[in-house]
Symmetry: C2
Amino acid sequence: MSEEKKISIAVIRRLPRYFRYLYDLIKLDIKRISSKELSERMGITASQIRQDLNCFGGFGQQGYGYNVESLYEEIGHILGTDKRFNCIIIGAGNMGNALANYENFKKRGFDLVGIFDVDPLKVGTKINQIPVYHMDELDAFATKQKVDIAMLTVPNKRINDVAKKVASLGIKGIWNFSPTDLRLEGDLVIENVHLSDSLMVLGYRLREKGF
Amino acid sequence: MSEEKKISIAVIRRLPRYFRYLYDLIKLDIKRISSKELSERMGITASQIRQDLNCFGGFGQQGYGYNVESLYEEIGHILGTDKRFNCIIIGAGNMGNALANYENFKKRGFDLVGIFDVDPLKVGTKINQIPVYHMDELDAFATKQKVDIAMLTVPNKRINDVAKKVASLGIKGIWNFSPTDLRLEGDLVIENVHLSDSLMVLGYRLREKGF
DNA sequence: TAGATTGTTAATCGATTAACAATC
DNA sequence: TAGATTGTTAATCGATTAACAATC
């Protein structure tokens, strides 16, 4: 009966940022850091850093601060960079291409195992050494090989059908690049990357400032 | 001495989402909608919708609800979809390519006017009919033509220099695709799209659920 | 007019910040 | 030991939700 306190999504979304800053500190050969110093670098409060980290454990030491290397490893462990996920990309257009060529994902534990599209010109080719299959082959593929995450870069009008298909195959994670908010049965985990939304907010903030 | 109440960023970030849902309603030929109905579609509370919209004005009518078409236009106006921004892409790699081919941006008021890279094989070509210039030409380009937004898809190690350059040219908006958090002098507006962060959060949430 | 639904104020909730005792 | 800085509790702040009078 684990009595875990639920960690808020706001905290979780800050973890990759801590992870990045700690990595930079390692490269700068900095061995230890206080919440105060880190707060100045990151532009957040020291209080928030200590609160956030204490959701997961007492990684620091009074009077000393945090050991950069081991804190980096702890956060990496929390984020699961030591675990591996099998990923597929559905939609071999420009965005799918960009994702397939993004080398960092593998480093973070995300292995691209297949790319799917309906275009006969693309099917049978490879992108960054990963084969492009026809969508019709997805069922068989997902049966043979465990797929954890589907990265969806299909045209907006196809997104709902594709997402439904993905869910039906038991794939639990969706990284959605279409502007549509997916609403699916079951306990899937969906992360949206709404690029247009981000750009429109940029536009709003620019005009708000009078530019 | 305008006594405007400051609108929180949380509200602003929800606007594009309202905008999308209203567009869908128009396509469904729905003429009016109450905050209650909309809340059910969007999976948020009716209270929040009414609070959000009232930051900008009383767009509804008691006993009736909101006129879909005119609310869509109001939010579009707030988001500035009727204004135009000149944009450049710096970094003609896979992600730059994907952005250059993203047709939706123009529809939302964002005009791509140039692409910049340092690769001599790319300079002189066109991507989606937009010329690729050498980075050395950026100064002259920005002098001749007003540039509002720079979309940065350069390798991480070059991001700080490129951002500094962009800022020095008086470009006020940065859409940053590198994992680095930019810290710049002056009153720039920066929107970050940290893809790896998003993917790592997806990984965390998957493991949290036991997948 | 009666019913519906907004606009808006008040209550609640959660997240951030401040403070400080614990302790290295 | 004295100084520094954490871990953690308490206070504050802001965002979300509830409630309801205003009004179409």
